[in-house]
């Protein structure tokens, strides 16, 4: 047991598995703080994962691929926002619709663009980064250094998100809109615009999460490769009480439990019981910390401006 916890791979994998959860979870925080439940993050991740490869391969630059993925993710998010915010459609149904659409369109385009052997093997990948000082520290170096640049980007975004949400004027307005849009409107705030902003941010961050999967961890796209991470991210965000650090913490917990289940698969237990670990741990943690988390008061409720 001890050597499992002393194995740096356990902790490195924790971070790696947490990243594609933390990014959309942070995104979801923005969207829900503005009052929109964005269940379409799963689909946005998938579409972004695909277009990251497309652009990266076409331009020969992983960074352009990353940028392209973000733009595509943003576009999908804005379409979602248009229907959810401007047309006040049911956010959950819309989200599900986008997820079905995403699963279909990416697999379809994969076949038509690249055939059945999969995406090109010479697709560039986002770089990994060795942190100079930490790199050579025995245990810590293996845990913290050498990850994809997206992992570090996620950490930076985490701090920015928290700062934005809780320490800027715009963040204050965004939260106000998610709590009581009517009050925000009477204070002269454009509720609709801010909800678009919240959803757009969730689209951008989900897209980063998706791009991490395809050109951060790998350099290829596989159908449905997000495997429900958009939904788990939503759970992480709720667990994290709609805060950036909370969401990150929940994503880490989930990443840790997944990494642990990988280490433990060859123990006496049935592997399928071991694989339940992330889910059981999440429930236990939630119940243990007195899981009461109160969503933004107007979360998921469409708002029609008075006029």
């Amino acid at each position: 047991m001890k050597e499992i916890f002393l194995n740096p791979q356990l902790w490195a994998a924790t971070l790696a598995m947490a990243t594609p959860l933390a990014l959309p979870a942070l995104g979801g925080t923005f969207s829900e703080r503005s009052g929109v439940v964005n269940i379409a993050m799963e689909g946005i991740m998938l579409i972004a994962a695909f277009f990251a490869v497309v652009f990266a391969h076409a331009t020969g630059s992983a960074w352009l691929g990353f940028l392209g993925a973000i733009i595509v993710g943003l576009i999908v998010a804005l379409i979602f926002a248009w229907a959810a915010v401007s047309l006040t459609a049911n956010q959950i149904i819309l989200g599900m619709a986008i997820n079905i659409f995403a699963s279909g369109i990416t697999a379809y385009l994969l076949n038509t663009m690249y055939g059945f052997t999969g995406t090109p093997t010479d697709t560039p990948m986002l770089p990994t980064i060795d942190i100079p000082g930490i790199k050579n520290i025995p245990f810590l170096g293996q845990v913290l250094s050498g990850h994809s640049v997206v992992v570090y980007l996620m950490i930076i975004i985490l701090f920015i998100s928290d700062y934005f949400l809780f320490h800027t004027n715009l963040g204050l307005r965004l939260r106000a809109v998610g709590e009581n849009p009517e009050a925000a409107e009477t204070a002269g705030i454009d509720v609709i615009k801010l909800r678009y902003l919240g959803v757009a941010l969730s689209g951008i961050l989900s897209a980063m999460g998706g791009a991490y999967l395809s050109i951060g961890a790998l350099n290829s796209f596989n159908p449905d490769m997000t495997s429900g991470r958009g939904y788990i991210a939503l759970a992480a965000m709720i667990f994290g009480k709609w805060t950036p650090f909370g969401s990150f913490g929940a994503a880490l917990l989930f990443g840790f439990a997944t990494a642990l289940s990988m280490q433990l698969q060859n123990t006496a237990f049935s592997k399928n019981i071991i694989m339940m670990l992330p889910y059981i741990l999440t429930i236990l943690a939630l119940v243990g910390v007195g899981g009461k988390s109160v969503p933004p008061a107007a979360d998921g409720v469409p708002y029609t401006p008075k006029k």
Partner: protein, 352 residues
């Protein structure tokens, strides 16, 4: 008549827009949209067999949809119907194959009721109690319990206690003849399970809208504080309504096993539990509405399979079309936008 037209205008236009956008995508990608839509429709409703298959596909969606609708009505967000479905399927199959010598009129109800109880406990026991007494968000707990249920089924089937003896394939034994819900129309997937689903919908309607328990659940769902002030036991109602919700998802699993699959296969997901969320929401959580929403989804499913066959539209493209239709049905107000655009144009023309 005029009013009816007005009411139909929006959904009809919404579907039309979905069809047009879908057509554009199909034209761009080199498919004939007309053939595609015709075969989508024929696949869903074009013959007795196709109608039967559509109805058959609607059965699990009706039942899981009812489950989800109950929880939504009670103000809880049970998104783990998928897991409750699996638990119901497991229990239903287990009773189906391990009891011999029972007459069908005992064996089938026994399996179904046990599956309902199991599904109910799966939702009510952990997510329900956790929600009621620690406030743990049921969105997370039911989702997590879903994954746990699926791994549990892997555990049972992959060289586990429910794997067929002597085989290498991870699947359960076939259920006994006495546990089989017979097919209603031969050569289709439609079993007498459809009547169970329809009866369940009516039952749930009655329960939610005509009984004191339903009254309580709805009151708690709409306004917990007022319910508490009126002397209702709010935590208990939460546990019970999540339990009831899970019971119908569990029933869905068992009906599907006894009526269609007749054994449990090792699989990832059925997907019913997730579609059920959309079904319930489209139906505005009305149990009778659930029937129609489920049929819509079932029709899209069976129709899209047929569309692959007869219009050579690949399955992935079928998903694209389904996604679009659902999107525009939800965003039905797009019809107003378009109407507004026309009105503006007309006004401009009139002014000119």
């Amino acid at each position: 008549m005029k009013n009816l037209l007005k009411e139909l205008y929006i959904p009809v236009v919404a579907v039309l827009i979905a069809i047009i956008v879908g057509s554009i995508i199909m034209l761009i990608t080199g498919f004939n949209p007309i053939t595609a839509y015709i075969s989508l429709f024929i696949g869903a409703f074009g013959s007795v067999n196709n109608i039967a298959n559509t109805l058959a596909a609607a059965v699990p969606l009706i039942l899981t949809g009812l489950g989800v609708a109950i929880s939504f009505k009670a103000g809880l967000f049970n998104i783990g119907a998928e897991g409750q479905y699996w638990i119901g399927a497991i229990v239903g199959v287990w009773i189906g194959y391990s009891f011999t010598g029972l007459p069908w009129y005992i064996h089938i109800p026994f399996a179904l009721i046990a599956a309902m109880i199991a599904g109910g406990l799966w939702a009510g026991l952990i997510p329900g109690l956790a929600k009621a007494y620690t406030g743990a968000n049921e969105v997370i707990t039911t989702m997590m319990m879903s994954y746990i249920a699926i791994y549990f089924s892997h555990f049972l089937l992959e060289f586990g206690p429910m794997m067929e003896k002597g085989g290498t394939i991870p699947q359960s034994p076939v259920i006994k003849e006495s546990a089989v819900i017979p097919f209603l129309i031969q050569n289709t997937q439609l079993s007498y399970g459809i009547f169970i689903a329809l009866a369940a919908a009516i039952f749930v309607y009655w329960l939610m809208f005509k009984t004191t328990w339903g009254f309580e659940m709805r009151a708690v769902g709409y306004n917990q504080r007022a319910a508490r002030y009126a002397g209702m036991n709010v935590p208990l109602n939460m546990v019970l309504s999540l339990g009831l919700s899970g019971a119908f998802a569990g029933l869905a699993g068992a009906v599907q096993m006894l009526g269609v699959q007749h054994r449990l296969y090792d699989s990832f997901t059925s997907g019913y539990g997730y579609t059920a969320i959309v079904v319930a929401l489209l139906a505005n959580n009305n149990p009778i509405g659930v029937i129609f929403a489920a049929i819509l989804f079932a029709a899209l499913g069976t129709g899209s399979q047929y569309m692959q066959l007869n219009a050579q539209v690949p399955g992935q493209m079928a998903d694209v079309i389904t996604g679009l239709i659902v999107f525009f049905v939800a965003a039905h107000r797009v019809a107003e936008v378009i109407k507004g655009m026309f009105a503006k144009k007309q006004k401009k023309e009139a002014e000119a």
